[in-house]
Amino acid sequence: MKGAPVGRRALLAVALIAWEAVFARAYILRGTSWHLLLHTLIGVGLGLAAAAWWSSVRRRPTSALQWALGGQLLSSFPDLLFVFGRVPHQLWMDAFVGHVSVHTAPQPLLVALGIFLLGGWAWERATAGARRAGSLLGAAAAGLLVLALATHAPLPTTLGDYSSVPTSAAFWCR
């Protein structure tokens, strides 16, 4: 977007805001704001980490927009498949940056926020020319996801598995 005429940049900004609004609305209408936050933060964070890496490889700054959007789409693809393709989630969908298993990782929303923050600073550092710092921060973002997936609780296969995991009854029943 850098260097584009003002009219084109404004159009891109409007298109981006419209897309994000439509995207968020699809989740909110289904009562799944938690999933929206989870997959958006992970996707955008990893997209920016990838942008940092690409910027380091090319030795010149990379625009964040397409990487962030690409990451968001990759991370949310199984949800788009559910809504538009009517395909329920399946374990193979972990290919999309751990889409299924990350739900049962320890504190998944905080992990997602960590990935987002690390990915953002990775991109910033790499764009500023601090390629080593950018690469390290990007690797930390990816490493955080790997660690979360390595320690996730097994997904339930029987109804008994649900009672073995802690619930938030105190919150809902207060």
Binding site: R30, L37, P88, H103, L110, L113, T158, L159
Partner: protein, 151 residues
């Protein structure tokens, strides 16, 4: 560089604020991350639970219907049955009145009256999915996608 750092800072503060705002309104990890996960991972028989007329069936635990909010949600859900916004008649629907069955379906908070949920049963009577969903009357599209997968 300053503009870039400011833009990044704004985005990151917005993300932190969004997570904080969410956490004040709902559990940070709803139902251990399993609420509305839309993954059919069960295959289990449960006493007192079966398919209605061999059709994929939704077993609804609406919470205590003595609670006006729960009663209104249930009434709205039942009224919308087989309308464009409701659950289609090609699926069975059972409203569970027995708290024991609700607990067998691993929905103890629904049995306690505080949080509705449902279980999905395939045409052969196996329980295949269960979730809490406080907004279930508005999520019939999601329920239909999952039930269609059980046909």
């Amino acid at each position: 560089m300053v503009r870039r750092i400011v833009a990044l800072g704004v985005a990151q503060v917005a993300a932190i604020a969004a997570v904080a705002a969410y956490a004040t309104a709902a559990p940070l990890v709803p139902d251990s991350g399993l609420e509305q996960i839309d993954l059919v991972s069960l295959h289990q028989r449960v006493p007192g639970v079966g398919a209605v007329a061999g059709k994929p069936t939704l077993y609804l635990a609406p919470g205590l219907t003595t609670d006006p909010k729960c009663a209104a949600a249930l009434s709205r859900y039942l009224r919308s049955r087989d309308t464009p916004t409701g659950l289609p008649n090609r699926f069975g629907l059972v409203v569970i009145a027995d708290g024991t069955v609700v607990r067998r379906l691993a929905l103890p908070r629904a049995a306690a009256g505080c949080h509705p949920g449902y279980a999905l049963v395939d045409g052969r009577g196996f329980v295949r999915y269960r979730t809490y969903d406080g907004g279930y009357p508005d999520h019939t599209g999601e329920q239909a996608i999952l039930l269609d997968a059980l046909r």
